[in-house]
Symmetry: C2
Subunit: 208 residues, 2 copies
């Protein structure tokens, strides 16, 4: 059974990860992992769809039961990626999208280096500032903290496989679709379907 | 100046490299390198377009003057990739396509590991046989030799970055287009345009 891809869409706060993932899911059949968090829901967020909103005790229980692919504390809240559902989909041959901050993505990379790590870059620093302000759910202090952190975080791009500038959403999405299509052709991933490493010959099954 | 990509389209004889390259060039602005060879022109082949047809002395002169990115003797004929024109285009930011046999591609990889190496797979062994026979320019002995060689050559797929099955030409071409688009997003390739390695900070120019 051919495994699905784990596609990690990551980048600084305000780069537009969420918008891109939403647009990508409209174009392509992918399963998006829903994170768990202990932070309070923002306006319009739905439990089980935006996040699984857990209280701190529930979250810590799951940590102890090895229930997360990664988890982290960010700005005083816990965020985590439930492990079982992601593994199930991938082993079932389905491609999984993770939309995740940088701290989380780097932990996923440690546990799952064969993932496809895509860094979303804001089109400019000014635009990044505007987007963070536009979110409107922050105090001026937390805004400045968030912007400075986003600027510093841009340097983590070097830990990723791909970087995509989110200038126009549809262009960014088509680049991500190209990345997914290309990764499915990578010899590293499909070698065992073509060549029998023991026999050193070409699989007949490859052509079934 | 951002360098162009060297995209190497390779695979066994009869896999359909030529058909794919022709269809790709109709869809995308790429510069295809024309090889030099000492073999006799086949029906319909044009000097300077299909190949540069050289005599053996001319070819050997060029070898001595380091004029080839790679060259090889295959079935008693010389084939080579003229070096200067490829380098010029790449340094000028243009993407270059090389359509080349496996022996040649592996030599190019030694000299130019940052190339994008794409292996074209025939849809089936039966189809491969049909295609080699359909070419009609071979004796039965050379046909069998060519088929056996093609079968053995399939194992070299593991030396390549990508494998694309040439079942339907337009699907194979769209996969190659995805590979090219994805490679342009690879952090390995664009890192120096984003991060200043000395300063460790994000380039303002990246956003110009």
């Amino acid at each position: 059974m051919k495994k699905g891809l784990l596609i990690v869409i990551s980048g600084p706060s305000g780069a537009g990860k969420g918008t891109i993932c939403k647009a990508l899911l409209e174009k392509q059949d992918l399963w998006i992992s829903v994170s768990a968090t202990t932070r309070k829901p923002r306006k319009g967020e739905i439990d089980g769809k935006s996040y699984f909103f857990l209280d701190v005790d529930e979250f810590k229980d799951r940590i102890e039961n090895d229930g997360f692919l990664e988890y982290a504390e960010v700005y005083g809240n816990y965020y985590g990626t439930p492990k079982a559902s992601v593994n199930e989909k991938i082993n079932n041959g389905e491609d999984v999208i993770l939309e995740i901050d940088i701290q989380g993505a780097l932990k996923v990379k440690e546990n799952y280096p064969e993932g496809v790590f895509i860094f979303i870059l804001p089109p400019s620093m000014d635009e990044l500032k505007k987007r963070i302000i536009g979110r409107g759910s922050e105090t001026p202090e937390s805004l400045m903290r968030r912007f400075k952190s986003a600027y510093k975080e841009l340097n983590y791009v070097s830990k990723y496989n791909y970087a995509v500038i989110n200038d126009k959403v549809d262009i960014a999405v088509s680049k991500i679709q190209a990345i997914i299509a290309a990764e499915k052709c990578r010899v590293d991933r499909i070698k065992e379907n073509i060549i029998d490493s023991k026999e050193g010959i070409v699989h007949e099954q490859f052509y079934d």
